[in-house]
Structure formats: structure tokens, C-alpha cells
């Protein structure tokens, strides 16, 4: 009787539920207004990327020739009947094309990061864990990739593979994703290596070794989760870089094949009319800017949330 009463009392005293690192971080993230704005923009972008083409008033390649001919053979301005954001010179609805572009940007954002994780994390983990010669070899290889001009490499890759199945897959996008991915894993690899080097000297790793945990489990269960914060931040901040890289490539005509258009190629097409119809450049540019701002704010917020020690030091 007394013991059960005592334990009930104890249970009542204990209010704070068991909180892990992630829940704590989530709480801190929610308190950061810019991060919330970023999160909102990112979620909107993802939503539009996934469902956008369903919401779009027209298919991205459908031409409204009648309207174009009636409007004097040029792009329709924003606010035209049936075309909120206007059309391009071929009568294709700009909103529909932007929404299709959102899908491309979202897939760039995530597929490139998957490629980066698949290459960067194992290389960094192996280098950091084994050290010595392995480390030297992998890090010099990383340096070589780092020193190589990214854009040139991607252009060469696209040209070399343009005619193959791989180059044609997903309207030419797969090639771009992989090309951007294999030039940008370097940062993550270095970061993971640094985390490994710092964490493998910690006592809990020694303790794990002392109870006979295998190397692989130490790396995956003990080291990576502890080093996850900076890696997540680097990946989130890598997303705007990837979106920008894709837009840049599209602007110079590499990547997605017409009639599909990414935001970069929309700008490239639109700039011919920049004096008479600036909306063809402005709207895709705004879209790119919002996406970049969203991911950057979210990344900054995540950095503060995952590393409380950094707080207030900037």
C-alpha cells in the first residue's frame, strides 16, 4: 500500500517527459522566426513541386495561339484573361511552366543531396575512422575533386553523355543531378571526416569498444548520430547551392530539354524580351530567390537549433 502510494507520488513529481536531442532541437527551431519562414517557404515549394502540375491551369507545353495572335504576336502580359502571369512568345502559360519548374527544382534539391550523402558520408566516415593511409588517399582524392572547376566538369559530363540513355533519362535531368552531386560531395565528406576524428576519441566510443561493439556499429550507431547535426545543416545549406547550380546550367542551355523548362531556362528564354515583357524574367527569378531564401533560413535555423553552443555567438 505505502509503496504504491509512494511510487504514485513519485510519478506525479516527475513531469518532464523523456526528451531526446531531436525534440529539443525541434523546440528551438520553432522559436526561431526566420527558420519558421524558411520552413514555410520550403514546405510550400515541396508542395508545389509535388502537386503543382495538378494545380496548373494548363499543361506546361500547351500553346494558346489564339491569344498570342490576338495580342500582337508577342508574349502576353500578366493579368491577361486566362493567364494570370501571362504567357511566353509561344503562348505557353507562365504559371504552368513555373509550377513545372518547381518540380524540377525540388527534385534537384533532394536528388543531388542524396547523391552527396551517398558519396560524401561514406568517404568521410572511412577516412576519419581508419585514419592513416586510407585517410590520406581519400582526402587527396577529395582535394582533387575540390580543385577541379565544377562548372567545366559538369559541362563536359553533360556533353559526353548527352546522347546516351543516361543522358536522356528524365528529360536530361538525371545527368544534371548526378553531375552536380559528384562535384559537390566534397564539403560533406570533409565535414564527416572532421566529426569522426573528433568523436572517435571520445570516451563513450572507448566505452563502446570496451563492451565489444563492432567497428561498423560504433560508426553507424555512435559516431554518425552524434555528428549528425552539422551534416544535416551542411546538407540543408547545400540545397540552395544545388538549385542555383541547376538554374545556372539551365540558363546556359544544359540540362532539361525543351519543351520542359526549369526556372533557369525560363530566365534564359525570357531575357530576349526583357525590355518589353520583363515578367518573363522577373517571375522565375522571384521563384528562385524564394526557394533559396527558404532553404537558407531553414538551414541557419537548423544550425542554431542543433548546436545550442553556437547560440548568441554570431
Amino acid at each position: 500500500m505505502t509503496t504504491s502510494a509512494a511510487s504514485a507520488q513519485q510519478a506525479a513529481v516527475r513531469e518532464r517527459p523523456s526528451t531526446g536531442l531531436w525534440r529539443d532541437a525541434w523546440g528551438r527551431l520553432l522559436k526561431n522566426r526566420l527558420a519558421i519562414l524558411g520552413l514555410f517557404l520550403v514546405i510550400t515549394l515541396i508542395f508545389l513541386g509535388v502537386f503543382g502540375p495538378l494545380l496548373a491551369p494548363y499543361p506546361y507545353s500547351q500553346q494558346d495561339l489564339k491569344a498570342v495572335l490576338a495580342g500582337g504576336h508577342g508574349p502576353l502580359p500578366p493579368g491577361s484573361p486566362g493567364h494570370i502571369l501571362g504567357t511566353d512568345q509561344l503562348g505557353r502559360d507562365l504559371l504552368s511552366r513555373l509550377l513545372d519548374g518547381a518540380r524540377i527544382s525540388v527534385s534537384v534539391a533532394f536528388v543531388v543531396q542524396v547523391v552527396i550523402i551517398l558519396i560524401g558520408v561514406p568517404i568521410g566516415a572511412l577516412a576519419g575512422w581508419f585514419g592513416g593511409r586510407t585517410d590520406n588517399f581519400l582526402m587527396r582524392f577529395t582535394d582533387i575533386i575540390y580543385a577541379f572547376p565544377d562548372l567545366l566538369f559538369i559541362i563536359l559530363l553533360s556533353v559526353a553523355f548527352r546522347e546516351t540513355v543516361f543522358g536522356q533519362a528524365l528529360d536530361g535531368l538525371l545527368l544534371v543531378f548526378v553531375a552536380i552531386g559528384i562535384t559537390s560531395w566534397v564539403t560533406v565528406a570533409r565535414l564527416v571526416r572532421g566529426q569522426m576524428l573528433a568523436l572517435k576519441e571520445t570516451e563513450f566510443v572507448e566505452a563502446a569498444r570496451a563492451i565489444g561493439v563492432s567497428d561498423r556499429k560504433i560508426v553507424t550507431r555512435h559516431l554518425l548520430p552524434n555528428g549528425m547535426g552539422p551534416i544535416i545543416v551542411a546538407i540543408t545549406l547545400g540545397i540552395p547551392a544545388a538549385i542555383l547550380a541547376e538554374a545556372t546550367l539551365a540558363y546556359i542551355g544544359i540540362g532539361v530539354q525543351p519543351p520542359r523548362a526549369s526556372w533557369g531556362s525560363l530566365i534564359a528564354e525570357g531575357q530576349k524580351f526583357i525590355r518589353s515583357e520583363p515578367h518573363l524574367v522577373t517571375f522565375p527569378a522571384i521563384a528562385i530567390a524564394l526557394a533559396l531564401i527558404g532553404f537558407t533560413f531553414l538551414g541557419d535555423g537548423l544550425r542554431d537549433a542543433l548546436d545550442p553552443k553556437l547560440k548568441g555567438k554570431q
Binding site: Q10, F204, I211, G212, M228
Partner: protein, 368 residues
């Protein structure tokens, strides 16, 4: 043949081959005394001429140099000495956890339960660590992984070594947490280390060390990071559980009070060597090495005059790079004579199982 079939189908007859995880657990339950016949050797642990060196840019640091000792089943052995005398490296060498590079065990034998640990391959070694040898580290604040729950970290070695189902492992973890004195153990399995105090975390470390019912626990200054009252509780806990589990303990400490309270025997280490070994009573009553006197003399005493300075051993332990062929304590020794500077004394007998490494206290020495 039919008889064999019968036993196979008979539900009550336990088959040797089919051991359910529950049965396996029952066999391993620590409260049952280990069968005396299970001993594979006279001594649980025999360390012979162990030398562990660290290869640094400045030279070879002989952290542990020609150390030999034995530890019986269920016995508690103290390893005392100042910082940097090779106590921890000795313990790490036994479990082969010396960081390599720069460290390497360059010579010697470590016979654990009849098997030479230094000849084991990596898989056998992993099986030994955690299963047969438990480790309690100095600082419980940093020895637990902050991103994993307490329950997971205790269960880790159970899953690794006992092959229990996760439900059975969970029961065992709760039982262990209860044994080390954590109230409402079941509710706390999903807590993270930061929700535990220092003393509680050291209790968790003890639970991890005992999780698989090991034969030996290497306790590397288990109470140094804790305050005095918690220290006493933790020591009492280690003592009680090692009795209950019939586990031998190698207790590393620089606190002679702890050694006096817990150990059966004590090895005094200085500069990588054992300089004196005796039973606790012998060592405290008749220490035969000036270093041991110094250590004992450094203990604060109740009858000390208030305001007096605490007594210390002047100087620092020597650098262990190319130590000279001389008594290593000689530079700090008040009784040193020429012979101490010219030749290093051997570990020689001073009494029944009492050995010391000192010219002065040898039968023909100048200290009676």
C-alpha cells in the same frame, strides 16, 4: 532410435540444442553462483612481463614496463600510484584497448581464464570485451553516448553477447538498473544520459559493465569524477555486486583509502613498474618502499594540526622516455644512496606474498 525420438517429442525434457532465449537467460542469471568447476585456470588473470609502449615523435614512452601480477577468481586487486604511472594503460592493455597508433603492447602475456588475450583475433577479442571483461571508466559524464537512451546502451552489450530477443533484453536491463539502485528502473529506460546525475550515470556504467555477468571488471578510477558521498555509495555498490556476481575487480585508484576499503591485495605502481605488492593489511602496516610511505604519508589524517600544509611527495614522476638503469624513484627519495643511482633493484620478497622493489629495505639494506 525410438528412445531418442521419444525424448525429442517429450515436452518436458529440455533439449540441449533448443535453448530458448529465456532459458539462456536463466542460465546466465547472476544470482546463481558460478559453478566452481568452471574455472579454467588457477588464477583468473595472469599478467606476465607486460610492456606497453607509446611511440611518440619525442621518443618511445615506456608507459608500462615489465609488469607482472596475478588476480584470483572473485578477488579484488588494487592498482595504486600517481597520475601517469601506467595504471590505466595496464588496464587498457589487459582488454587490448590501448589506442594504436601510438600505443602498442610490445611484450608479455595476459592470460585470462587460461587463454592468452594477446594472441586472440579481433572477433574473439570482441567476444571477450563486455562479455568476460567489464570496464568502468573514470568519467561517467563522457562515457555515455548523449544521443542514445540509457536502455539502449545497457542492452547493447547484452544484445551483442547474449543473443537475447529485445523483450528479454529489456527485462534484463530493467533488472540490472534496479540492481545498481536506480529507482523505477523500468520507467527510466528511455531516458537520455543528460537526465541522470553523475552518480546515477556511474551506476549506469556499472550496470553496463555487469550486463553480461563478466568474470572480471576493470574499474579505472571509478569514483574520481564524483563527490565524496556519492563515491562511498558507488564503492559500496561495486563491492556488493562483485560479491553477488562473484566477479573479480581490478580497482585502479590513486586514493589509498579506497584501496584499503575494497581490495584484497594492492599493487603500487610507479613510473610504469610495480614497486610494491602486498595484501592490504601488510601494505598499510609495513610498507617496504619509500614511495608507498610517501603515498601513505600524503593521506590527510584526523589528528593533523589545523592550518598545517598537507604533506606531499616532492617532485614529479620521471619521463618514461629512455628511463635510466636506476631506481626510478631515486630522484624523489629521501633515503637514496649511490647504489640506487647505479642499478635498478628487483622486486624481491619481504614477507609472505609481500614484494618490494627497493635497495634500502632489502635484508642487507640500510632501512631495517
Amino acid at each position: 532410435m525410438s528412445g531418442a525420438d521419444d525424448t525429442m517429442t517429450e515436452p518436458d525434457a529440455p533439449s540441449i540444442i533448443e535453448v530458448s532465449p529465456d532459458d539462456a537467460r536463466r542460465v546466465q542469471t547472476p544470482t546463481e553462483p558460478r559453478a566452481e568447476s568452471g574455472h579454467k585456470a588457477d588464477k583468473l588473470l595472469t599478467v606476465r612481463n607486460l610492456s606497453t609502449h607509446f611511440f611518440t615523435p619525442d621518443g618511445v614512452v615506456q608507459a608500462v614496463d615489465d609488469v607482472s601480477f596475478e588476480l584470483g577468481y572473485g578477488e579484488t586487486l588494487g592498482l595504486v600510484g600517481e597520475s601517469g604511472c601506467g595504471k590505466s594503460v595496464t588496464a587498457l592493455s589487459i582488454a587490448r584497448l590501448v589506442p594504436n597508433p601510438p600505443g602498442r603492447i610490445v611484450a608479455g602475456e595476459v592470460i585470462f581464464d587460461g587463454i592468452d588475450v594477446l594472441k586472440m583475433n579481433d572477433d574473439e577479442m570482441r567476444h571477450l570485451r563486455g562479455k568476460e571483461i567489464g570496464f568502468i571508466f573514470q568519467d561517467p559524464l563522457t562515457s555515455l553516448n548523449p544521443t542514445l537512451t540509457i536502455g539502449y546502451q545497457i542492452a547493447e552489450s547484452i544484445r551483442q553477447h547474449m543473443g537475447l530477443s529485445s523483450a528479454a533484453a529489456k527485462d534484463r536491463v530493467a533488472e540490472l538498473l534496479g540492481k545498481v539502485g536506480i529507482p523505477r528502473a523500468k520507467d527510466r529506460l528511455n531516458d537520455y544520459p543528460h537526465q541522470f546525475s553523475g552518480g546515477m550515470r556511474q551506476r549506469v556504467m556499472i550496470a553496463i559493465a555487469l550486463a553480461c555477468d563478466p568474470k572480471l571488471i576493470l574499474a579505472d578510477e571509478p569514483t574520481t569524477a564524483l563527490d565524496v558521498t556519492i563515491q562511498a555509495q558507488i564503492l559500496e555498490l561495486i563491492e556488493r555486486l562483485s560479491d553477488e556476481f562473484h566477479t573479480a575487480v581490478l580497482m585502479i585508484t590513486h586514493d589509498l583509502g579506497i584501496a584499503a576499503g575494497m581490495c584484497d591485495r594492492v599493487n603500487v605502481m610507479y613510473a610504469g613498474r610495480i614497486v610494491e605488492t602486498a595484501t592490504v593489511d601488510e601494505l598499510f602496516e609495513r610498507p617496504r618502499m619509500p614511495y608507498a610511505w610517501g603515498l601513505l604519508d600524503s593521506l590527510p589524517r584526523l589528528d593533523d594540526v589545523r592550518g598545517d600544509r598537507l604533506r606531499t611527495i616532492e617532485g614529479l614522476p620521471p619521463l618514461l622516455i629512455q628511463p635510466p638503469d636506476a631506481c626510478r624513484f631515486e630522484p624523489r627519495c629521501r633515503f637514496a644512496r649511490d647504489i640506487c643511482r647505479e642499478d635498478e633493484p628487483e622486486l624481491t620478497q619481504r614477507g609472505d606474498s609481500h614484494y618490494a622493489r627497493c635497495w634500502a629495505t632489502q635484508p642487507d639494506g640500510w632501512i631495517p
